[in-house]
């Protein structure tokens, strides 16, 4: 057990727990942030994706020890931003959401991509989303959603 600090959704938090826990479990069980999902549990599907210092990371394969002093943002925190609104509306309009299980991860992946590269090519969009699996949409609609978000959110990234 150890007491550690990190920034979670724009707030400084302190937690006294086993540092060998997965970030995923800490977010869901200790902070009730259930937007992070456990899909595969082995880093393949991206349903548990979060932003760690503004970059997408899988919380199922991140030990809590690796977030000390860093900024963690989940879909709950990100949903309070203008960037989120632009992405959300684009996903809804383009039909990039069906069952919704992958959607928080897809949105986090989109933000991580656009934060680094505000005007990606189609290829770069596909690479940016490559760690997030969707079994409903067939991806084309999600790629369209990202392109729409880029157009609508011009200036936000």
């Amino acid at each position: 057990m150890a007491k550690i600090n990190f920034k979670l959704n724009e707030e400084f938090v302190e937690i006294d727990t086993d540092l060998n826990r997965r970030l995923l479990d800490v977010l869901r069980d200790d902070f009730s942030l259930t937007g992070v999902k456990e899909g595969c549990g082995e880093g393949e599907c991206g349903a548990c994706a979060i932003l760690l210092n503004h970059q997408i990371v899988n919380s199922c394969s991140t030990p809590l020890a690796n977030v000390i002093g860093k900024e963690v943002m989940t879909i709950e925190g990100f949903s309070k931003t203008k960037r989120y609104t632009a992405i959300k509306e684009a996903f809804a309009e383009a039909g990039g959401v069906q069952c919704g299980f992958c959607t928080p991860g897809m949105i986090i992946a989109t933000e991580s991509l656009l934060n680094k590269n505000p005007h990606p090519t189609d290829f770069e969009i596909k690479i940016g989303l490559s760690g997030n699996l969707c079994r409903c949409t067939g991806y084309n609609l999600i790629v369209e959603a990202v392109k729409l978000a880029i157009k609508r959110g011009e200036g936000l990234w």
């Binding site: 150890a2 826990r21 997965r22 880093g43 760690l52 030990p63 020890a65 690796n66 000390i68 490559s130």
Partner: protein, 281 residues
């Protein structure tokens, strides 16, 4: 309960490794999966853990006249984005895993994991990369190809830490990495290939090829390369099937869930053929 050690400096870390029996974890993207526990339980490590991502000394990429140095806690994404890293290594990393994994996984982790299908290893063998290893008492360097001795086997003592990856600088006329997998990203290779050459006039003065996922470790045959060097491009193209037959003897893939022996062998040798056919004057 397994203990977590969090060294802030390299010195502190080496002291911990000297005093205790610890599992070193950087990004954790492989280690966590290999030690996966049921959901909601702590990671199923078999022994106490030392987390090294907070050590600044291990987080640098820099170069001198002869070498490029990559700290063992630098993420794959940082390496991929660094303009001083050879293009072939940057492109290899682009085809490894996904952004989420590249943001925390490390090159040293891919080496220490010593998987026969580790993509970066194919390129590191090709570039004659070395690892720098430290303990409280010594500092040593070793070629990656000697450091990895078998499937998940490395030459690392319990008190030692990989501190850097060192890549000799060399200008090739062409160098590329090619991966064969079910999709471009987020997939483990069925076969991987890397090739590079340097010409002097019409002669080849440097010729290198390496193969991944076709044997227990990456295959690179210095003896075969020696026989090829100093021939003209024209002669090498004429020798193509002879060269393929030399490599055929050392390419011994296995059947597994990702692919099978026969497919892997044919594809590996075809990638070699393609490389020879595309040698340019």
């Amino acid at each position: 309960m397994v203990k977590a050690y969090l060294p802030k400096t390299l010195e502190e870390c080496l002291k911990m490794l000297n005093d205790f029996d610890l599992k070193v974890v950087a990004g954790g993207t492989d280690v966590l999966i290999q030690n996966r526990a049921p959901s909601q339980l702590p990671i199923g490590y078999k022994k106490d853990v030392c987390y090294i991502l907070q050590i600044d000394e291990l987080r640098k990429i820099y170069e001198d006249d002869q070498y490029l140095y990559i700290g063992s806690a630098v993420s794959l994404e940082e390496i991929m984005d660094s303009m001083i890293v050879p293009e072939i290594l940057r492109k290899t990393i682009l085809e490894m895993a996904s952004p989420a994994i590249r943001h925390t996984a490390t090159l040293a982790g891919n080496i220490a994991n010593a998987s026969p299908a580790g993509d970066s290893l194919v390129t590191l063998y090709l570039l004659d990369a070395e690892v720098e290893i430290r303990s409280m008492h010594h500092l040593r360097r070793m070629k990656v190809s000697d450091f990895i001795t078998g499937v998940r086997r490395i030459e690392l003592a319990k008190d030692e830490l990989i501190s850097k990856i060192i890549i000799p600088k060399f200008e090739f006329d062409q160098a590329y990495f090619k991966k064969v997998g079910p999709r471009l990203s987020d997939a483990i290779s069925k076969v991987a290939f890397a090739g590079a050459y340097k010409l002097e006039g019409k002669k080849i003065m440097d010729f290198r090829v390496s193969f991944g996922a076709v044997n227990v470790t990456v295959v690179r045959e210095l003896e075969i390369e020696k026989k090829i060097v100093s021939n003209t491009v024209k002669d090498i193209k004429k020798m193509q099937e002879t060269i393929v037959s030399w490599y055929e003897k050392v390419i011994n893939p296995i059947d597994d869930q990702r692919s099978n022996k026969a497919y892997r062998k044919v594809v590996a040798l075809n990638l070699l053929r393609e490389f020879i056919e595309n040698l340019n004057l």
